[in-house]
């Protein structure tokens, strides 16, 4: 069976150790977490965790069931399709030699990113977008030399 990427979003009790339970479930059962994002919601007692994982169809069914079984998981949904919006943010530290600076600025402009730091030979770029957009800008900047990158991982909401 082929493995596919899946985005899971869940509401959990905002208590110490809950994140550890969720993450422990993945590692304990041999599922890999590609990215993880967690923060409080408007209700201070409830947090939202967004996880991206790769699994087969039966694998993701098992992950969802196991997560639902956790006492601290209040609600869980798999994110997909037009009824959802997905975004990610990245901070990209890219090398910017003399001949390339203009090209980089053009790319940032096209992707509606922002330059948040300028140096003699580098920029730090802030950019948000869906997964496709993020891959595209990173691939375009790679030849220039991405020295460091920090990504949030996907977050998502249903419309």
């Amino acid at each position: 069976m082929t493995e596919e990427k899946h985005v899971l979003t869940m509401l959990v009790d905002n208590k110490p150790g809950v994140l550890s339970r969720v993450v422990g479930l993945f590692s304990g059962r041999g599922f890999n977490i590609e990215s993880l994002c967690v923060a409080e919601t408007v209700d201070p007692l409830i947090s939202r965790i967004t996880v991206v994982t790769k699994a087969t169809e039966s694998g993701i069914e098992q992950i969802e069931k196991q997560l639902n079984k956790l006492i601290n998981v209040i609600k869980l949904r798999k994110v997909s399709g037009p009824k959802s919006v997905q975004r990610e943010m990245a901070l990209i530290y890219v090398m910017a030699k003399n001949g390339q600076r203009a090209e980089i600025l053009r790319i940032v402009d096209i992707f509606r990113g922002k330059i948040i730091d300028v140096g003699a030979d580098h920029f730090v770029i802030e950019v948000t977008g869906d997964e496709e957009k993020m891959s595209a800008i990173i691939n375009l900047l790679k030849p220039m030399g991405i020295k460091k990158i920090s990504r949030t991982g996907t977050i998502a909401l249903f419309r």
Partner: protein
């Protein structure tokens, strides 16, 4: 009892109130610094406390107590090493879904995370082997947390729940109000099955020619063995069970196929291999049961009734999944069957029953009697002398398998074994717990010479409280099951499975104040059994058995269920 009156109580006193309100009259435990305040309050109550000799014994005893009584088992241990000593017991209860509440002491809240004396992060350690666990950080939370812990332990798919109580919380006074019954919006087990799914089952039964019922521990936990028996007899479908399900269906009934699995009976494994409909109830299709999963019941439509959705479609594809409580589902099925057209059933089944009977006569469970004592002979006579009425606990390995094969169970609550974890050292403390739960009955632990030494210290517990448990040691001076694998698959390279330096079990028993008996020849077996079982004391019976006897049938690991090694 002043239920909703507000009083100032310390954490320790609150714990006593909650235990009382949950109907707990017995706990198993071992004191220590972190729980000394709790023990102080405990001494002022009527709760019976059984002092064990190792915290692992406390958890196994609470486990055995729970299985024998149908209630939640409770144990109390101190922080640090006391808590870590419970982990094996907790893991065993978790694998077998037994409702146990484990109360652990913890260092005071201001010392947590400081590498304090006797501090461990027991919540972190047991996160993956408890149904849920808690660290209480505020005295005001203690009552609600404890109530919730008991609720979670016994509801839905039962399991062990740990509550870690810091020492200062136990001493802090707080306004106490008995909490309301727990209601968690994130935890809503499904007890009532979907009627449409049940109707599909009835249709499949009507159409099937070679059906089999496969029942497991879930039927016993939901207390549904009467409903199961009625269901099987009404539909005339033969029944097999997993190790955990032994006793859910009467072993003396003609529909009984014997246990399924790696050491199951020939006819049970062949029946499942050939069936066209498998009705699985309260099971989780463990690898000891299925053998090679893609060869498991290859021609069958599989129906799976279980309270835990994660067990369904985890290992085996299922045609009709039903989430629900086993007893409730079986009850509804029994009602629906009355209206169904099962008139042709007897004619349809005749061919199937003939085939099954041929399998039974082809390869019944058997062994060859010789000059040495055969373990199967010991168990057979144990069964005959006790008339099948004893409560049997087991250790793990060959002793466990022979017990499951040669002692026949007609009722639930008579077979207590560490199935999922397979934990050596389980049997003696579990027998102690079972004896405490059912004081008038005969409790027998069937053990190996290796396993019995793992929690031998609990003999002191048994003698201290005059618990007349009987230990039957099948002594072959080997770590038997591993030796069997080494014989069959590793060219008899018995790497470190020889146990020639066990103690003289008779002298050891007497050193503990128990009765010690020994049999070295077949003709001594029955007299030793009779003398031991008739005693009103704690008894160890050392049966020196054939050293290299194997458990058969055996499905080699990774092989299909129908490809068994037979004698």
């Amino acid at each position: 009892m002043e239920n909703n009156e507000n009083r100032i109580l310390t954490g320790a006193q609150i714990l006593m109130e909650i235990l009382k309100s949950e109907g707990v009259d017995t706990i198993f435990g071992f004191p220590g610094g972190a729980v000394i305040d709790i023990y102080d309050e405990l001494s002022k109550t009527d709760i019976r406390h059984i002092l064990v000799r190792h915290e692992q014994g406390a958890v196994h005893a609470a486990d055995g107590y729970s299985r024998a009584s149908g209630r939640v088992g409770v144990c109390l241990v101190t922080s640090g090493p006391g808590a870590t000593n419970t982990v094996t017991g907790i893991a065993s209860a978790y694998m077998d879904s037994i409702p146990v509440v484990i109360l652990t002491g913890q260092v005071p809240t201001h010392l947590i995370g400081n590498d304090a004396f006797q501090e461990v992060d027991i919540v972190g350690i047991t996160r993956s082997c408890t149904k849920h666990n808690y660290l209480v950080t505020k005295a005001g939370d203690l009552a609600g947390t404890l109530k919730e812990a008991f609720y979670l332990a016994r509801s839905g798919r039962p399991g062990p729940v740990l509550v870690d109580i810091p020492k200062d919380i136990a001493k802090t006074g707080v306004q106490f109000r008995m909490p309301e019954e727990s209601d968690l919006k994130s935890y809503r087990p499904t007890y009532n099955p979907n009627i449409k799914q049940l109707q599909k089952i009835i249709t499949l039964i009507e159409e099937s020619e070679k059906p089999v019922i496969f029942a497991g521990g879930g039927v016993i936990l939901s207390k549904g063995s009467e409903e199961l028996t009625e269901f099987a007899r009404k539909t005339k479908i033969p029944v097999t069970t997993s190790l955990m399900g032994l006793g859910a269906f009467p072993g003396s009934d003609p529909l009984w196929l014997g246990m399924i699995g790696m050491h199951g009976t020939f006819r049970a494994n062949m029946s499942v291999g050939a069936c066209d409909l498998l009705i699985a109830i309260g099971v989780r299709f463990d690898d000891r049961v299925t053998g090679k999963t893609d060869s498991f019941a290859p021609n069958a439509k599989i129906v799976h009734i279980d309270i835990d959705p994660t067990s369904i479609r985890k290992n085996i594809p299922v045609s009709v999944p039903v989430v629900g409580d086993c007893k409730i589902a079986l009850d509804q099925l029994n009602e629906m069957i009355g209206e169904a057209n099962l008139g042709n059933i007897i004619k349809k089944r005749r061919k199937w029953f003939n085939r099954i009977n041929r399998w039974k006569t082809m390869k019944p469970l058997s062994y060859k009697q010789k000059e040495t004592i055969k373990p199967q002979y010991v168990i057979e006579n144990l069964f005959n002398i006790t008339k099948g009425n004893a409560i049997i606990t087991t250790e793990v390995g060959q002793n466990q398998m022979w017990a499951a094969q040669y002692y026949h169970f007609d009722k639930p609550g008579h077979f207590i074994t560490s199935g999922g974890l397979g934990c050596m050292g389980f049997g003696l403390p579990a027998a102690i717990g079972a004896q405490v739960a059912r004081p008038g009955e005969l409790v027998v632990d069937i053990a190996g010479d290796g396993s019995i030494q793992m929690n031998i210290q609990e003999l002191a517990t048994a003698v201290q409280y005059s618990l007349p448990v009987k230990v039957v040691i099948l002594n072959n001076r080997y770590l038997g099951m591993v030796r069997q694998w080494q014989e069959l698959f590793y060219d008899k390279r018995y790497s470190y499975t020889g146990m020639d330096h066990s103690p003289d079990f008779v002298k050891l028993a007497e050193a503990y104040g128990a009765v010690g008996l020994r049999a070295t020849k077949p003709e001594e077996v029955v007299p030793v059994l009779r003398k031991g079982l008739n005693s009103d004391k704690t008894v160890i019976m050392d049966f020196q058995i054939e050293r290299e006897e194997n458990v058969y049938p055996m499905v080699p690991a990774g092989a299909p269920l129908t490809e068994m090694l037979l004698v």
